[in-house]
């Protein structure tokens, strides 16, 4: 259960860890946006090189990133198969009814796989090196303009950070309830899809009841510690944009310029 932990943060002291979370967030978006224009081996190779350089900079073992990829393995496989069998073009290598494997199909499948893997790796870098609170803070700061439209940005950010904080707890609870029910003869992994779906219902009810109880308790604890209004609070983690962040953006800019150059001048 632990290896599908979303937004898992590993404390560290690398250059990436110390960047402003806003820089990391915007940077990740820019990278993904640029990378979506890749259409050749050279552009994908250049994007991959950039991602792996970033991974090295986080000073975290590659296994952590591999763990981040595992949960979406099936999704990747599914899109690869779609690309493989349904891309039209010449030359056709194999045909069986409407399914055919073509050379462009194979190339496309590999491209899509690389694209998927790189996007996941890049977002893993973000979540691995940034504390959930910092992500929530960054989001609050980036969405600040929406306050003018009366969007409760501060409340949403606080909700997000509390939600992230309770993810591992609710996962544990799910596991406990499943074990308790398994020990009384419930099976979650046999039978057809309808039977399996039914088995989820008695799992969800205690989970929801437990979550609501936690919410009430937490609300009490928050109020007792002086919580009144999410907008009227000071901040422990102050976001500070520094020269290192400028360097990060400069690096990203160089990456993008070279990316465009490679896209137009190298035809492989």
């Amino acid at each position: 259960m632990n290896n599908i932990m979303i937004g898992r943060f590993v404390p560290g002291d690398s250059w990436i860890h110390r960047l402003d979370p806003r820089t990391k967030m915007i940077g990740t978006f820019i990278f993904i946006f640029v990378m979506l224009w890749a259409n050749s081996w050279a552009t994908y190779a250049w994007s991959a090189a950039f991602v792996f350089a970033m991974i090295r900079l986080t000073k975290q073992p590659f296994k952590l990133y591999w763990d981040g990829l595992k949960p979406i393995f099936w999704l990747i496989l599914f899109t690869i198969i779609l690309q493989l069998f349904f891309t039209p073009g010449e030359p056709v290598l194999f045909q069986a009814g409407p399914l055919k494997i073509t050379v462009p199909g194979i190339i496309n499948a590999i491209y899509v796989m690389i694209r998927f893997v790189l996007i996941i790796l890049m977002s893993t870098i973000l979540t691995l090196t940034t504390a959930p609170t910092s992500i929530a803070n960054a989001l609050e700061s980036l969405l600040k303009p929406l306050k003018k439209l009366h969007v409760p940005v501060a409340e949403l950010a606080l909700m997000l950070s509390i939600a992230l904080r309770f993810v591992p707890l609710l996962m544990d609870e799910t596991q406990k309830i499943m074990n308790a029910q398994k020990s009384r003869g419930m099976s979650f992994s046999t039978g057809g899809p309808i039977k399996r779906a039914r088995a989820i219902v008695p799992l969800l009810i205690p989970l929801f009841v437990g979550a609501l109880q936690r919410a009430l308790d937490l609300a009490n604890a928050m109020e007792v510690r002086g919580f009144q209004d999410a907008t009227q609070r000071t901040k422990y983690r102050i976001l500070s944009y520094g020269s290192e962040d400028s360097k990060a953006f400069a690096g990203l800019f160089i990456f993008s310029v070279l990316f465009i150059a490679i896209k137009f001048f190298i035809k492989y």
Partner: protein
Amino acid sequence: MVKAIEINNLKYSYDEQPLFNDFNLNIEAGQWVALVGHNGSGKSTLAKLILGLLVADEGQIIVFDEQLSIESVHRVRAKIGMVFQNPDNQFVGATVADDVAFGLENTKVDSSDMPQKIDAALTVVGMQDFKDREPHTLSGGQKQRVALASVLALQPKIIILDEATAMLDPDGRMTVMETLQQLKQQFGQNLTLITITHDMDEATLADRVVVINDGRKILDGTPAKVFSQRRVLHDNGLELPFANELAYQLDKKPEDYMDERELIQWLSTLNK
């Protein structure tokens, strides 16, 4: 004598069932008071009433000369810190430091003062080396000590612990109780401590023990005085602290003449 908490003629009904009817209690500043009672005796409800998390039907609650009302509830809460039973459900921050910071952020403490205040509060409870840890990597006892630090950072005059050790293993329970004793030593008369518990061994640490059942005060006095009333405690669903119970059992002796066989039989009943 300064009164930390004064409760006069408190009335409170839960689901139309009267829980408190004309309840009175005074707690002196600087005291350590243990509120004991079995489950459902109303002791946790009392804590929530004092903090204004529940609203009394009638009566007064006065905290350091300030009467609890809708207008004063936030000022009253600022004087009181509370640690709840479930260690997970009161951990707001993503890390230990963030959790201690939560209360400071609410009370608009300047960002630049926070690290020092957080360190100081964590040092008091001996958790300063766990600053960047996430809650799910801590034991129950450690989480409760962080909860205590979160409360201490706000410098309350009163700390209420509502069954704070009930979900802990014996080890965690011991460290929390040791931390409390140390706190009491460090802050002395500047800290009023109220521990709500059904663990009698915990209650023995207090200066004063108040036994509550069905919203009524049953016994009130020093631990020595209260724990001499074994019968009354039993009638209200409570046990003596282990040491007292042992002494009581050892003190029992047969009143009538017994021959050898009868004595053996009598001795065997002691083991039950």
